[in-house]
Amino acid sequence: MAISRRALGLGILGLSAAATGALIYGRSSPLLRGYLGEAEKLFGFIGGEKERFVEDPEVVSLLRRQGGLVLDARRAGSIEMVREPALLDQHPQFLWPSSSVLVDLARASGVKIQRDQVILNSPIVVYSWDGIARGLAASGYATADGEVRYRLDLAKLLNAILAGRTWADVGVGALYGSLRLLSTDPNRSNSGFMFAGLAANLLAGEVVTPSTLPAVLDKVAAIFTRMGYKPSSSGKMFEDYVAGGPGAQPLVVGYENQLIEWVLEDEERWRRLNSDGTAKPVILYPEPTVFSAHPLIAIAPEADRLIELLMGREAQQIAWTRHGFRGPLGTSGEIENPLVRDRILPRLDQVVPMPDFRTMLALIDRLAA
């Protein structure tokens, strides 16, 4: 049976009119409430690394069932979302950046904060490859903790980079040229931003402040200059890491949960990888490291309910088991996934706070030059 394009168009128009009618009706009818729900839309910005968590059907259903909430969460850079007028002028009801420092920065930009609460945590880690990690361990830059898990002396590694050491100098004979560590652009992406803070702390030997920053500024800048081209997002950085392999991406800064999420996204791929002869991804835990906290900033009163739901046991369990995010205190979840268990450090004892936001602003301004 043939049907004209116009008739089809009219038909679709009619359908949507009927659907709208049903929705309007449903809102006022107790009979249909159970089906259609009395959902309240909440609009806000989130860092890209939480996109998969927020879009997870289990999370969507939980928010809807228990709180009647539907999120309209748009992806934005964590640093942009707390200071870009173009974003703040859209009147977000909540912001969910990926560093606690950014709560202060939001306040400084005039955001009216009702409440803020750290929901998730993920430590900043360094991604590498089994062969390279073994070399670093043999030369005293890293310590093996089990078969495929390492603790990294990041301060020592940074000083080796500053001293112009080659890969061969640090026990990695397979790679040519100078030792290098890559992160994202600290002015655009949070993992690069946090790494800049961590590096400044390590080089200063304490949490840097506006008065101690000048002494290490040149050194931090030198480390970032040696990276060359820096990706603009943590997601792209991790994609480049897995795609590029040890020759192109030997040491890369990221969040701990990125590898876990990548493994869980396609478990078959992970099994295949572990059974073939190629290089295997390895997490090096810097000691000390910084936690990328994910503070939810409630601007509208309704966002308070969102915080309550996400702090609940169910949401926290989904965050850990399906996305690799640790809870508000930085502890790992109870259920261990056998696929990644051997690569994860359950407890991180050496954690330093980030420098305050004024220090960070001065630091990233310099790195933009």
Binding site: L8, I12, G21, A22, Y25, Y176, S178, R180, G228, G245
Partner: protein, 557 residues
């Protein structure tokens, strides 16, 4: 359910739905309202079923890709056919793609971009319109050298460094084909890798390095080895094979590992000597071949389609088929193809990748290449000013000359001349007109521009006579081997036949000068096709945009 049924079902529902909608707004009793709502709800439940019909027509999707992805187009079309979508794949150089991404006036007409490397998106996509970039394959740019040559250079017996390659070029023992660093990703990659390794620190290239005379000298020495260049790596591979069949056996070529494998398969099939792949130990550039969605407001359906295409190309089955073409694939996608020890081809071998510098350093390096380090151009321009060019034709020619000799305009597109270049411009009718010549120095360009913008039309057409005149004029400069020569013929008509006479001269001159054609108006393309094919050149279509054709041809000279 087939497509027709799917549409019919929606159509039937659609026709009755508006009536229900209207009646519900008219209002009524409570029970009646409840029933109507139930009916509407039922409709809502049916809707997704109808839409999910497997006969759903997919969207029309335009994809712009780098020429090195051509062998993978069948995979893309396979997916599009499965989704009943119409996919058109067109091929553009990475730089062209970048300029189009940046352009406000002529934005890129595509829904997906698939350039050779992410860096070009980062350099040019100022509006951040490209999303979901994912690497489909990993492609090192390496040097393929005829096996006997590689043996003679001692390169088949151990590691080779960039310094070894520079030394061979300086001794006059090695010449190679390399695409233009300012027009094509493989050329840019090879060039940036050479510069980085020439800097010798095993580190990232800096702005200071670019100003270092010693590094510049090394890069210039290396680029003196460029025997032919082009705006496209795919075309360069074809040129290598085509000329091999005609008896010109180029010694070496920088290209993607996979393109060199394809070249070798063709060489071996015809009994020609294959290339030995040289992976410089101190670092090669690796391109990540990213596919991304270009947001130009076509909505979620097209965006979802492009993401699904990515997932398809990254599925284990398709990754295995991509690996079979000699491409490296992202981690654990599939095993690499078997190595061919006789060619030193091994996509499973780890390589040390050079780290690309910051975007502003890349731009400065490309400008330096175009203005100072590349082998200077020796260009013979034959410009058709026959009677048929009168009017609109001459207006466009004047415009093209205005562009070609305006340093500011050409610099924006990285096709600027340098003072080392030599330009011989000859207007022609049935006979060659008076020659105008100059270098690429600003004063010479200004003179050439005034001259070009004053050209007038009238008379018959003989491009062959002009090409012979150009060859004569270029003769003295050709001898030293300093310049990278080309003759460019713009014509809008049919010439009186003189191919054999020209080719006679051309052979006597050592077959060194490729001829490129730019068609215009009612140009007889067969004549240009024959002339360019004989000489290893290429024809560009100038009918849509003459300025753009002149820009493109600069990438080959």
């Amino acid at each position: 359910m087939d497509a027709r049924e799917g549409r019919a079902l929606r159509g039937d529902d659609g026709r009755s739905a508006p009536q229900r909608g209207r009646r519900s707004t008219a209002g009524g009793g409570g029970a009646w309202r409840g029933l109507r709502a139930m009916a509407a709800l039922a409709l809502l439940l049916v809707l997704p079923l109808a839409l999910a019909g497997c006969g759903e027509q997919g969207p029309a999707v335009a994809i712009v890709a780098g020429s090195e992805n051509k062998p993978l187009e069948p995979l893309v079309q396979e997916f599009c056919a499965k989704r009943r979508a119409t996919c058109t794949v067109s091929y553009l150089g990475s730089l062209d793609m970048g300029f189009a991404l940046k352009s406000q006036t002529q934005p890129l007409q595509a829904d997906a971009v698939w350039p050779a490397a992410s860096i070009w998106i980062d350099l040019f996509d100022e509006g951040r319109k490209v999303k979901h970039l994912k690497s489909i394959s990993q492609n090192p740019v390496v040097l393929g050298v005829r096996k006997s040559k590689a043996e003679a250079l001692g390169w088949t017996r151990g590691d080779v460094t960039t310094a070894d390659i520079i030394a061979a070029v300086e001794r006059g023992e090695l010449k190679f084909l390399m695409s233009s660093a300012t027009q094509s990703n493989s050329g840019a990659s090879a060039y940036l890798a050479m510069l980085t390794t020439a800097a010798g620190k095993g580190d990232v290239l800096t702005a200071q390095d670019l100003g270092d005379p010693a590094i510049q000298e090394k890069a210039r020495a290396l680029l003196a080895g460029v025997e032919r260049t082009s705006g496209s790596s795919g075309w360069l591979g074809e040129l290598f094979l085509d000329q091999d069949a005609k008896g010109t056996h180029y010694a070496a070529m920088w290209n993607y590992e996979a393109v060199l494998m394809e070249t070798n398969q063709a060489l071996v099939a015809r009994g020609s000597e294959p290339l030995w792949l040289v992976y410089p130990k101190d670092g090669v550039a690796v391109s990540d071949s990213p596919l991304g969605y270009l947001d130009r407001g076509r909505g979620a359906a097209v965006e979802g389609f492009v993401e699904d295409l990515q997932s398809f190309l990254l599925s284990p089955e398709i990754q295995a088929r991509i690996a079979a073409t000699g491409r490296r694939i992202p981690l654990a996608g599939a095993a690499a193809i078997k190595p061919v020890p006789a060619w030193n081809f091994d996509p499973g071998r780890p390589v040390t990748a050079i780290r690309l510098p910051e975007p502003k350093v890349i731009w400065a390096a490309l400008t330096l290449y175009q203005e100072a380090l590349r082998r200077p151009s020796l260009s013979g321009l034959c410009l058709d000013v026959s009677g048929s060019m009168e009017g609109a034709g001459m207006d466009q020619l004047h415009q093209a000359m205005g562009f070609l000799f305006s340093p500011d305009a050409t610099r924006d597109l990285l096709v600027q001349w340098s003072p080392q270049d030599r330009i011989y411009a000859i207007p022609f009718t049935a006979v060659p007109g008076t020659l105008e010549q100059g270098s690429g120095a600003p004063a010479d360009q200004a003179r050439l521009r005034t001259w070009g913008e004053a050209l007038a039309a009238g008379g018959g057409t003989d491009m062959y006579a002009c090409a012979r005149a150009a060859l004569r004029a270029m003769g003295p400069d050709l001898a030293g081997g300093r310049y990278l020569p080309a003759i460019v013929i713009l014509t809008d008509g049919r010439s009186t036949d003189g191919l054999d006479a020209f080719l006679g001269d051309w052979r006597r001159d050592g077959r060194k000068v490729p001829v490129f054609g730019i068609t215009f108006g009612d140009a007889d393309r067969t004549q240009l096709d024959q002339l360019t094919a004989e000489t290893g050149g290429r024809v560009f279509d100038g009918r849509k945009d003459l300025v753009d054709a002149f820009r493109a041809v600069r990438g080959y000279n």
